[in-house]
């Protein structure tokens, strides 16, 4: 089992009347940056970085940053900058960028360069996640969402080749054309830093990750347990169709976790923050989340029909807890739930979001400490041999 502490670095200082959905229909794209206070922001960035650095001290295997634009849910538009800050302040942990939004940048080589620089500076501690970015980012960055998929694949292929094929060479593509590709520095890890793919909705991505050419770990992100199960089954089925069993080390679960002293105390201390995350942090309309052409029309039509079930507002904390959108409880409860979840779902990478929504620093740190001291060692012992779930039953596409 590996444990990587995830952070979103949210902006918690929302207006008092933020519950007014007419006034604030979204915390993304159109929520004015006049609500951002740079002086508080200064304290906040440094506090959040402290929390990630503390995770190294606590024995986590890795710490994670990520990319989102123009919103109060996650204030890391440039994740490579955060990784750079962490690279010099940590010595041992893996640094996970989950991930760079490939289609959102006009220059994939800039990503190849920056991640290679980080890998060299950190002595090979980078794990390089690649994402398309959620739909909202396409409004914020002006990138045509109908090109999202093809830009992702072209940029991915270009970056991997830039890391592995000695330059200079020429790239002629649809979206990127470069006479001289010759990236300096080359990455520290050979052939290149591991690539992990966080995902939240598409089977095509799962199949692509599982392909033997890649075998990229797929990270199910903020999904109810039933959805995680479906995605992991898709992954195992895809691996199986290519003639191999997907190991647990290729399956990751990214989920908010809060460890309190008792169940009652945990619920009291975490419920509001979990609701903040899903009700305020992830407040966006269907049209924002799914801009035109972002996924295929059949997938989108399915998602459109399911719009109501994707509306987190219909679930309060208890509802979220019940469907497995979070794990909250005493050390005993959290351990029991995670053992069950790992046994049932068969993943080997756990990426807990330990700072949740607008959670204050002290509460975050206490939960991190309980997780590191009472959960991590127990799970490592319990799953010394990685859990394996062989692909058995046929899984129907689209179900």
């Amino acid at each position: 089992m590996q444990f990587h502490a995830f952070h979103l670095m949210p902006w918690p200082y929302l207006p008092d009347d933020f519950d007014d959905l007419n006034k604030y229909p979204s915390s993304w794209v159109t929520f004015s940056n006049s609500n951002y206070d740079p002086v508080k922001g200064h304290q906040l960035y440094n506090r959040y970085l402290d929390e990630l650095e503390y995770a190294e001290e606590l024995g986590f295997d890795g710490i994670c940053v990520n990319e989102h634009h123009q919103n109060s849910y996650g204030t890391m538009p440039a994740p490579n900058l955060m990784a750079a800050a962490l690279a010099r302040r940590t010595k041992r942990v893996k640094l996970l960028i989950l991930g760079n939004g490939l289609p959102l940048r006009d220059h994939p080589l800039r990503i190849a360069e920056e991640v290679a620089m980080l890998d060299v500076i950190s002595g090979g501690r980078m794990i390089s996640g690649f994402v398309r970015g959620i739909g909202c980012e396409y409004y914020s960055m002006g990138i045509n969402p109908t090109h999202s998929r093809e830009r992702f694949f072209e940029a991915h292929d270009l970056i991997i080749k830039a890391w592995t094929q000695p330059g200079p060479w020429e790239h002629q593509g649809k979206h990127y054309n470069l006479r001289y590709v010759n990236v300096w520095p080359r990455p520290f890890q050979q052939p290149h830093p591991p690539i992990w793919i966080p995902g939240f909705g598409s089977k095509e991505t799962v199949d692509w990750c599982a392909h033997p050419d890649r075998k990229y770990p797929y990270l199910a992100t903020f999904m109810p347990e039933s959805a995680v199960k479906m995605f992991f089954n898709w992954y195992r089925a895809a691996a199986n169709s290519h003639g191999y069993e997907a190991p647990a080390s290729q399956l990751g679960h990214l989920i908010p976790i809060y460890v309190g002293d008792t169940d009652a105390e945990a619920k009291r201390d975490a419920a509001g923050h979990v609701e903040w995350l899903f009700h305020k942090g992830l407040r966006h309309s269907w049209e924002m989340l799914f801009p035109p052409g972002y996924t295929s029309t059949p997938s989108m039509a399915r998602l459109y029909a399911a719009a109501e079930t994707l509306d987190w507002n219909r679930l309060n904390f208890d509802g979220m807890n019940e469907v497995g959108l979070c794990v909250v409880g005493s050390p005993q409860t959290v351990l029991r739930k995670l053992i069950h979840s790992i046994r049932t779902l068969g993943y080997g990478l756990l990426l807990p979001l330990l700072h949740i929504g607008d959670m204050p620093h002290d509460r975050t740190v206490r939960s991190m400490e309980r997780f590191a001291r009472e959960i991590m060692p127990a799970l490592k012992a319990e799953f010394k041999d990685a859990p394996t779930i062989a692909h058995s039953e046929p899984v129907q596409a689209g179900k």
Binding site: V29, T30, Y139, G142, I143, N144, P145, T146, H147, S285, W286, E287, M288, P291, P292, G293, T297, M300, A301, Y304, A305
Partner: protein, 259 residues
């Protein structure tokens, strides 16, 4: 009056084409919302052979993989005219289709007899009200941008709150196909205005008097840029005069084309 529906092959892509009437050819280029047969076309088909194709990616037309900009659509329609053997049809374009018609007349002026631009996007006009985002609003908000009476029968029939699966699919396809050419820059070609001087075809600009999506100021900019053109506004209409005021709009268009 009955119209026919067929599929034609345009350089390997299946294109859906609706057609009615006899007389001089009239090619109608539809807007970002998509296309369905309207009474407006029946009126025009009394005087003209009306061709109403679906752009690539809209309705049942294929070929969106070849379309990345408005100029790719221009090439598509030059091929389309060649396939149908139409040398110089009249071209009537609405909204996105109006932009396309203007680009066609700029780049392929010899293929246009007379030109009608209805509530057309395409121009960047400093000081004019910005064109609101059509991709972000939900359907109820979108109706307010498009129709004078957003809760009227017409608006609710074409953009219902509870669409059928087929309508959802058509809407998603229309969104994607429109975004392909109109996402960024947002429904305009920064160079179009300075190139309008190339349009030699007699041109009529038609605008819904109450259009808040594409304000009549854009129509005035087209009129100012196209020599000899004139502009007519349609009363009691917002962004889609052919749907909102079919009789009056068809009369204005037909009178101009026959003159």
């Amino acid at each position: 009056m009955a119209h026919t529906e067929e599929f034609i092959d345009v350089r390997g892509a299946k294109v859906q084409l609706m057609k009615a009437g006899t007389g001089a050819p009239l090619l109608f280029l539809h807007g970002a919302g998509g296309i369905a047969w309207m009474p407006f076309f029946d009126r025009l088909s009394r005087d003209f052979t009306v061709y109403v194709p679906a752009h690539p990616g809209f309705a049942l037309s294929e070929g969106l993989d070849k379309i990345d900009s408005i100029f790719d659509l221009v090439f598509h329609y030059v091929d389309f005219l060649d396939v149908l053997g139409l040398d110089r049809p009249n071209i009537v374009g609405l909204s996105l289709g109006g932009w396309l018609a203007a680009e066609l007349a700029v780049h392929q002026g010899s293929r246009v007899n007379k030109l009608v631009l209805i509530d057309a996007v395409g121009l960047r006009v400093e000081g004019a009200p910005p064109i609101p985002d059509i991709f972000m609003p939900g359907v109820a908000a979108l109706r307010k941008l498009v129709y004078l009476d957003p809760e009227g029968d017409l608006a609710l029939a074409t953009m219902p709150d509870m669409p059928t699966p087929a309508m959802i699919e058509a809407r998603l396809n229309a969104r994607a196909a429109s975004a392909r050419v109109g996402w960024n820059p947002y429904f305009n070609d920064p160079r179009l205005r300075e190139r309008l001087y190339r349009i030699k075809a007699p041109t009529l600009i038609v605008w819904g008097e109450k259009d808040i999506l594409v304000s009549p100021e854009y129509g005035k900019a087209y009129a100012a840029g196209i020599k000899g053109s004139k502009m007519v506004t349609i009363k009691n209409s917002a962004h889609v005069p052919p749907a909102e005021q079919p009789d009056e709009t068809a009369r204005v268009v037909a009178d101009f084309l026959k003159s």
